[in-house]
Amino acid sequence: MGRPRTAVFLCNCGPNIAGAIDLDIIAGQLASRQDVAVVERHALLCSPDGQQFFRDTLQNRQVDNVVVVACSPKMHEKTFQDLAGEAGINIGHVQMANVREHCAWVTPDKATATAKAQLLINAAIRRSLISENLEQRSMEVNTDVLVIGGGLAGIEAALTAAAAGRKVTIVDREISLGGAVIKTEEVAPSLECAPCLLAPRLAAVRDNSNITVLTRAEVTEVRGFYGNFTVRVRRQARAIEPSCIGCEACFEVCPVTVPSRFHLGLGTHKAVYTLFPGSVPAAAAIDKSACRHFTDGTCNACVEACPFGAVNFDQPDDESEFAVGAIVVATGFSSWDPRSISALGYGTVPDVYTLPEFERLASSNGPTHSEIRLRDGRAPRSVAVVHCAGSLRPDAIPYCSRVCCLGALKVGELVRKQIPGATVTNIHHDLVLTTPREQAFYRRQAHEGTRFLACTDLAAVQVRTGDHGIRVEGPGFEPVEVDMVVLATGLQPAAGTRELAGLLNVELDADGFLKPDHAVLHCTGASLDGIYVAGCAAGPCDLPTAVTQGQAAVGDAISKLMPGRRINLEMMTSVIDADLCAGCRLCKAACPYKAVSFDRERKVCVVNEAICRGCGTCSAACPTGASKARHFTDAQIHAEIGGLLHG
């Protein structure tokens, strides 16, 4: 094989390049170069005529490499790669020299621009001389969807995808679905019963053969990219087989009582439990840290009581791996814990509750079966609601959660309905009510007796034990003494959001919520293609928004993941030379796509080229040079730099 023959095409780009760079001088110099076989010039190489000329020239002139002296590769690299491909030249041998954006447009003096262009062209030629073939491979997209989080947004996302015939897996940490909404009684401002709202949706999930629900489960690993993710999910055994229908026969015989997380610690459940009757899945679960079979091996009561033989203490934890095309993160939020600001009295003054705790007290599936009660069992005669508890202050939540005001207004509605004559006072600053319906709800509450006290500085509000109850005082209003205080606490990222974002390789915003790909145009897309976000995982939002986002995320995902559609795999993948690899595994740690694995037998790392995105991070990390990024090898980059430095 002789020396590679290189063709150089110069594009005038109308006056864009030809006006700023002396292409005559450049063409003359190129013609005298030993390593350049063909020099051609065209007025506008990307025009139909120019493209024809480009292809025909390559077909007729027997060259190995092509250097296109024109615009940014972002504009037309693919155009000329495809044309070269049609002319039988592998696209790995097409090199752009960007003399428009990098030179003509930014260099006013023509002589300087010409000299600079010469260097850029020289760099491209030197690089092209050691270019290598690139192979185009493709694979069919996976059309399945993973939904992380089985709250309202996740349920709606799953149902939307399943309706389109897609296989969906919902992964939730809890033992059954429903998220935050199932813990509330009535949703404002419509005052629809939340469990009633969700029950048919939960049943639809249960009955949909396209949907698999994995509860007590967490995603532990995600590899791959849009249309081609591999997901690993670890599931904790519930020690109850799916044959359980949730009849609760075991609850009565279980001797162990544990504080209920579902009731936010305000109530208890047995060591074998469901969150609420009619949950999906219906099966109970055993809290192994409390159950006497697991703690001291002394109890077998539930096994004997179960009419279905569903108790299985030996059920193993399991870990499964499956492929999906897109992932919707709908992990919701956690409520801010007011213990960190002692002035709010939470945890020290009895009968100071957070808004979610109040919701549990008012809920039919709550610890008091919807009776709003003080800790001593009495019904409160007076309730104060403190707005913005912990919000809009740098030491707690610096932002407004925009949904707590509405929840705070609901307290009056629920209290008055149950306890005639009880007074409710809302201590507030701003009132964030963003729709006409919400504003009408506010007017109705005011009309029906909720007292509104405007505080001039909510950060200065003090809640402490008073002479006749709990005293709430602060700037701008007369102190009140009440039986019960409800703190309208804001919304924070759910526990584990940061770790999940790490697994998914997506960015978080300054407050720790998942950052949208674009706040306006692609607000349900996370920062990585194929990962979506819906509901409060993306930041505090109301229920209609959560539903809309769940549906929108899936709509966007499945419109791209059409059955039968193929995606081109990255051509410029990394390869690891097993002869040079010492098995240090730094590349494995560096790979953001988890495309690198360690072959324990051969003690070398291996790239999975179906997953590799060609980012080159592993090649930068590789301390031995064993990992090479195709099309961007050290030798090629050195050749390019050398060409730039030594005209």
């Binding site: 030379d577 002869d579 040079l580 690899c581 010492a582 098995g583 240090c584 595994r585 730094l586 494995k588 740690a589 560096a590 003690k603 991070t617 930068a620 990390a621 590789c622 301390p623 031995t624 040079g625 064993a626 050290d634 050195h638």
Partner: protein, 320 residues
């Protein structure tokens, strides 16, 4: 009777450790002496430059040259050896990559003279005397070698046939090389006589590296009690092993000390220091910030301890 191959040993800018390797062959040195004729070894035997010059060109089979090249005398001897030897082996870190002497490339000739002859607290030099290449006293002329601006690796000065890195190369390395020479099994010219992989490939602690090797910050040896079984890099220490050619037998690691990189870069790497910095960058936690590298008092001396003359960093002033 077959003629025994003629062998020469010489040192340029080096500490003598490489010569020590020859002695450290122990009893095996007798086998070497029996198999070859040592015709030039100023460090151990009484040879003069004139003896070398008197040999026919190409008469020496193999010349082991250790040390970097800075003075005109070193350059002259390297050239002379090149002429007399059919095969020149750059022996040891200094000859291969510049070694410790090449760290002087981080400063200038002037500053070195200033420091050594004037500023150093232990210098007493009221007349401000500096070495000169030529001095005449009482009609007698005294010549000293010229002190160049830059420290070079041997291959910058003469063509080198093989390289044997290490500070110093181990006696086993030398023994293997001698055997290759005696059996005529030397690889193609230009090769490094050693492994192509990095030290991790033979590191006894390789299996102990955690799946997630990220470290919150780089730590100094004096700040930690070093776990004798765990990957040193994973303990936050700068172990140059991942970026260093294998071949030393992991002696430092066995001694619970991190690799300092004396075998130079692995086979396909041009710049060992840059590679290591790049690799470290990927395992330092993202939010490590300045604290992550605060313990790195001397980055150049850490990452380029033995390879400054071969690095992309070049030198403060290069006189090539």
């Amino acid at each position: 009777m077959t003629v025994k191959p003629k062998v020469a040993f010489y040192w340029c800018a080096s500490c003598g450790g490489c010569e020590e390797t020859v002695v450290d062959l122990g009893a095996r040195v007798l086998d070497v002496v029996a198999a070859v004729d040592i015709v030039f070894w100023p460090c151990a035997l009484d040879f003069k430059t004139a003896d070398l010059a008197a040999l026919a060109d190409g008469a020496i089979s193999v010349a082991f040259v250790n040390g970097a090249v800075r003075t005109s005398e070193q350059a002259h001897m390297a050239e002379l050896l090149r002429r007399k030897a059919a095969c020149v082996i750059a022996f040891g870190a200094c000859a291969c990559h510049g070694g410790i002497p090449a760290l002087a490339n981080l400063t200038s000739r002037e500053r070195i003279l200033q420091r050594s002859y004037h500023a150093s607290p232990t210098v007493d030099n009221p007349a401000g005397t500096e070495p000169r290449e030529s001095t005449t006293i009482d009609g007698h002329r005294l010549n000293l070698p010229a002190f160049a601006d830059t420290v070079h690796k041997l291959s910058d000065v003469i063509a080198v046939d093989y390289s044997m890195p290490g500070c110093p190369p181990t006696p086993d390395n030398l023994w293997q090389a001698v055997n290759l020479i005696l059996t005529g099994k030397l690889p193609p010219r230009g090769a490094v006589l050693g492994s192509v992989k990095s030290l991790c490939s033979s590191c006894p602690r390789n299996d102990s590296r955690p799946d997630d090797p990220t470290i919150p910050k780089i730590r100094r040896l004096i700040d930690v009690v070093v776990d004798p079984a765990t990957c040193l890099l994973a303990q936050g220490l700068v172990c140059m092993g991942p970026a260093t050619r294998d071949g030393c037998g992991a002696r430092c690691i066995e001694g619970n000390m991190p690799c300092t990189g004396c075998y130079g870069p692995a086979a396909d790497v041009q710049d060992q220091g840059a590679r290591m910095v790049s690799a470290l960058g990927t395992i330092l936690q993202n939010d490590a910030g300045d604290q992550g590298t605060a313990a790195l008092d001397d980055p150049a001396g850490t990452f380029y301890r033995y390879t400054m003359a071969a690095s992309l960093l070049g030198a403060e002033r290069k006189d090539v």
